[in-house]
Assembly symmetry: C2
Homo-oligomer: 333 residues x 2
């Protein structure tokens, strides 16, 4: 049944794609089966993570960006991730209705992904869905998420290019809170650039990027601050741009779209695309190996023994290290 859906998907059947995405979201075992089937057909899409706090106009910006890519005849998929914190009640991305204006276009596919339980699971599902959309032939996959913490960092980590959206008028205190989010940016956007305070925000962001001697630049995926680079190394550096946009007015969108595509070109020209793919593969393999080894342990070691050891450690009857060594010895029996 999965095989049928996959072959329908390859022929452009959107309903089959949608059903496969639902399987990935809801059923980890089927997700593995799907990914195993399509894995060697992936690796072509440009995955773009887009994050910004509520009120930054992210949703409209993503819509406009998708339209700009469509002008170049690129197929675009959007995965809108909503971590629905207990405090947000899931309404943070409520303006997704605006995306309806893209709905008639067969070159666009939109999918929402809601939080069910663990945030780690959310990042994994978004990542797996992006792989399926890649295999389905989408050129650009935009993963849109609220900039609220590590889960977002994890989600955008699966991206080749990360866009962080700010809105003008956020106080100085906010900047430091957001440092963690800013550190992952390949492109910074100040949306609502027609609003008062936007040039101040742009300057603040540029200032933060230039704290170090050579500015806010990224070299092999790391922000480079204190290291002096050779000329050859400098040419491989991506200068993080700060772009003003006004999504509701459609201003600055084309430049943003061009910059996103230029980032891919930059990565490819410097072998960084291949390097990022390799790093990502290594991470995925390590994670899967850990999952498999833990499953193996749980199969070999009786649950009752595991619980007994946990209780003994919690009660300080035995130390952690001795308890774990004793459990692992069971693997060799």
């Amino acid at each position: 049944m999965i095989e049928t859906l996959l072959s329908q998907m390859q022929q452009g059947n959107r309903r089959a794609l949608s059903r496969l995405l639902t399987q990935i979201e809801n059923n980890p075992q089927t997700a593995e089966q799907i990914l195993q089937s399509i894995y060697t057909q992936t690796g072509n899409a440009h995955i773009v993570g887009i994050t910004g706090s509520p009120g930054s106009g992210k949703s409209t910006l993503v819509t406009e960006l998708a339209k700009a890519f469509r002008q170049c005849n690129l197929k675009v998929a959007i995965i809108a991730v909503d971590p629905s914190s207990p405090f947000s009640g899931g309404a943070l991305l409520g303006d997704r209705v605006r995306m309806n204006e893209l709905a008639g276009d067969k070159g666009v596919f939109i999918r929402s992904l809601a939080s069910r339980g663990s945030l780690g699971g959310l990042a994994k599902a978004a990542h797996q869905m992006a792989k399926l959309l890649d295999a389905a032939g989408y050129d650009l996959i935009l993963i849109e998420t609220v900039g609220a913490g590590q889960s977002e960092v994890d989600i955008v980590h699966t991206a080749h290019t990360t866009v962080v959206i700010e809105a003008p008028g956020m106080g100085d205190g906010v900047q430091s809170i957001k440092a963690g989010i800013l550190e992952i940016a390949d492109i910074l956007v100040v949306n609502k650039a027609d609003m008062p305070g936007s040039s101040k925000t742009i300057n603040q962001l540029k200032g933060m990027l230039h704290l170090g001697p050579i500015g806010g630049t990224r070299h092999h995926g790391r922000i480079v601050k204190e290291v002096k680079l050779t000329q050859e190394e400098s040419s491989t550096i991506w200068q993080i741009p700060v772009l003003p946009t006004s999504a509701t007015e459609g201003e600055g969108i084309d430049q943003l779209a061009d910059t996103v595509l230029a980032h891919r070109t930059h990565l490819e020209a410097n072998d960084q695309w291949a390097e990022r793919e390799k790093e990502r593969s290594e991470q995925e393999m390590n994670q899967l190996i850990q999952e498999r080894l833990m499953a193996y342990l749980q199969e070999k070691v009786p649950q009752s023994l595991l619980q007994e050891k946990i209780t003994a450690v919690a009660n300080r009857e035995v130390d952690l290290f001795t308890a774990v060594d004793e459990l692992l010895q069971k693997l060799e029996e």
Copy 2:
């Protein structure tokens, strides 16, 4: 040599304690040896995670809180964690000099922990240091960290009680950004309560806590929002308080200290203390098991083969799942 230092530490030698903490920070293998020796002597201290953004007056508040606990003749250790983001340059906790006023007191021990490389490593080191300070007889261990992301969440997760500090006058936009931090709070503090806007901030926080039908309450470590609870269950619920303080004026500090101690009493009265210890032990064991299994794999599987598989997956010559299965088969050979 470690054994000598440990026995000196047990006799109250602060220099030995300090040297052991340095070992834990710098040398993972020695850290294991130390922890194995002292593990069964831990479990008495009340670990309190305190997080707040720069400008919230966290450092002064922690100093005053330590003084309040000293009034009750409780021994206090402070671990000040500075994740020194590339954007902060490590100056965020620069006002730690104020803690000098505690320096003459033998019942107080202060230790800074700077980021070296991975933030995950920082959380682990803070956690391990807390265990040593626990074994050294400190009644309260305050882990102070900047509220800037997942690393802080990880750090305070090792705590029995988590205090989140806000300052008045932060805009509405900030609140949603901080939702991730607020979700971990057992106690919310609005410091600088003498400043304009403090009652607005207090009301905003109370409002956020009361979005759900039964308010911002924590039941067995989870925020409870939509579940109706029986009367018996309700009695086990911790109502998250929002406390105003003015650390520089010394106002509200005694109430905060009392509330921190009351939280321990609450956890103990409802078996939640033991439950949290058990959850923590389980997490620690799982993490150690994973480390050990990965080390075992690396010992058994040649590095060259691992690299070969990673490249093949990155180039989409083989799918992730098949590659991992082939690697794991090496374990059985």
